[in-house]
């Protein structure tokens, strides 16, 4: 067995490192060019911070439109989290515990958005908000409703996985010791759900801040332009390295949130005597276990 392993090992090892380089180096180059001193995104002309901070008009932290896009993105992400987290937790608990035909219906309804192509959801919501629910204006409100709809399913999946692994015995023990159903839920189940809640927060934040299709279909021009929309509209134009800087900022933001989330998750696990550490935390946020 050892011999055959050896035989397959080296070309595969070559392939995997080749893949990693292929998948990461272009992005790194784009990040490096955000520090280009010239106006080109392809020819290196020395290091500067002009596209990040020093240029009074074009740098991303000083350009009004870019700042507007950054604040739109953050507001949209936090607003979505506020709505989708309680909605998703409740739906996860409810859908896991009801039985019968309605359970199948709810389960089908919650898992379909997860695999529906975004363009279909975006197009359907655009047509709905412009012809049927005309009280909903395109822009922030429509984007919020769209992002909640699209990310609800992932919260449900993450929380449900946790519910399954917790099982019913803890809550029942609390009930046997005299807790009411509400108390068991509030003081036993909810605290145990915390890692899945944290994972949902991270996943929803990263999804919404990166979302392009739904946010774009439901936008109403500059007033509701988010960072991805701004990037998208200028990639093929003669944009300066400020574009690279903005894209880098987007990547850094989601990485920061993810890292905080991962560390939070693995510390929580350690403190509560659960096994798994970083691996389990990674599985939580990549939904590998679903």
């Amino acid at each position: 067995m050892a011999l055959t392993n050896q035989k397959y090992n080296s070309p595969l090892r070559f392939l995997i490192w080749g893949y990693i380089i292929w998948s990461l180096v272009p992005v790194l180059i784009a990040v490096i060019y955000s520090f280009n001193d010239g106006r080109s995104r392809t020819v290196w002309q020395g290091f500067s911070l002009r596209w990040w901070i020093t240029d009074p008009y074009a740098s991303i932290f000083r350009n009004d439109e870019t700042r507007n896009a950054i604040s739109n993105s953050l507001v949209l992400a936090f607003a979505t989290i506020l709505v989708v987290t309680p909605l998703g937790i409740a739906l996860a608990i409810g859908s896991q515990r009801i039985r019968g035909r309605s359970a199948n219906f709810v389960q089908g309804l919650t898992s379909t958005p997860l695999i529906t192509p975004e363009i279909v959801v975006g197009a359907a919501l655009l047509l709905t908000f412009t012809r049927l629910f005309t009280a909903v204006p395109l822009g922030f409100v429509a984007q919020l409703l769209g992002n909640v709809t699209f990310s609800l399913a992932s919260v449900v999946v993450i929380v449900r996985a946790r519910l399954v692994s917790i099982g019913a015995s803890f809550e029942e023990a609390a009930r046997d010791l005299g807790a009411t159903r509400w108390q068991a839920l509030r003081f036993v189940l909810l605290p145990m759900l915390w890692p899945s809640v944290m994972a949902s927060l991270v996943v929803v934040f990263a999804t919404v801040i990166d979302d392009f299709v739904i946010t774009s279909f439901l936008s109403a021009g500059v007033s509701s332009e988010t960072v991805p929309l701004r990037i998208y509209s200028s990639v093929r134009g003669g944009a300066t390295p400020a574009l690279n800087a903005l894209a880098t900022l987007l990547v850094l933001t989601s990485f920061a949130v993810l890292t905080i989330g991962l560390f939070g998750l693995s510390t929580w696990r350690k403190r509560h005597g659960e096994r798994g550490g970083l691996r389990a935390a990674l599985a939580d946020v990549t939904q590998l276990n679903s």
Binding site: G94, V120, A123, A124, R131, V164, S169, I231, F255
Partner: protein, 309 residues
Amino acid sequence: MARTMDTLHRGLTQTKLKNSPRLWAGFAIPGTVWLIVLFAIPFYAVACIAFGTIDPIFRDAVPQWNPLSWDFVQARQIFSSLATGPLQGVAIRTVVYVVCAMSLSFVIGFPIAYFLARHAGKRKLLLLVLIIVPFWVNYLMRMLAWVNLLSVDGLFTRFMRIFGVNYNWLDGSPITVILGLVYGYIPFLILPLYATLERLDWRLVDAARDLGANSRQAFRLVTLPMSKAGLVAAGILIALPMFGDYYTNDLLSRSPSTEMIGNQIDFFLNASSQPQNGALLVLALSLFLLLFMSFYLRSTRQQTRQVTR
């Protein structure tokens, strides 16, 4: 004995928890209503616009909310256009691009997932993290990176010129679009593939080898059948967004000669004011994808059932 007690206990507690259906239904209601109003009804609205009429003066789509008076004239026209008319090219291209990108993703992704699951050894966590990183790098950033490299004076274009290759990568090149799709979606394939392969009982493969199968036979007769469901599910998972993709194409080519169905939907809904055609294409795409989606949902539901039991 202990096991029986355990099952008995679990059975009892489960019946107790499940005993308050009204409470749990109350938990499920807000989310369910949300999804009915903002997910199910929008699909009905798409159908009502697709099978509605066109305002004769403003040329705008007028939805027909009553299914009994749906009008299929325009639908027939669009569907025949997709089958034999001007949209035929778009339909064929969509399928061909997705099939090519999928096959390439499997060719690259499967060995990687296999290596990760079986031979990664001490470096496993590091490799896993490095493979997961692109998963979290914004899609547009990853496309932007390649636009920079492939533009006329980009690093890659200049590099290829050394070898005498003078190719205009970003101007309607099907190769660029297909490779772009692979680059964009392959992380979403590798992870589920890895999850599937890691769960396999590799002792069975070892047993097959011990019983005289060569490595190819063991792969074909044991590994493949055991992982088939997971492979298909992972394939569907990236095929679905690829079929609805328009931004990759838009960023890397922006030429009518490489347009896919997503580009047509984007065009009809966002660039021109022909929402009825857009709605019809959304409907056509959804019907086409429904097949894959129902297959995927069924297979994952079977899996969760196995896990929870």
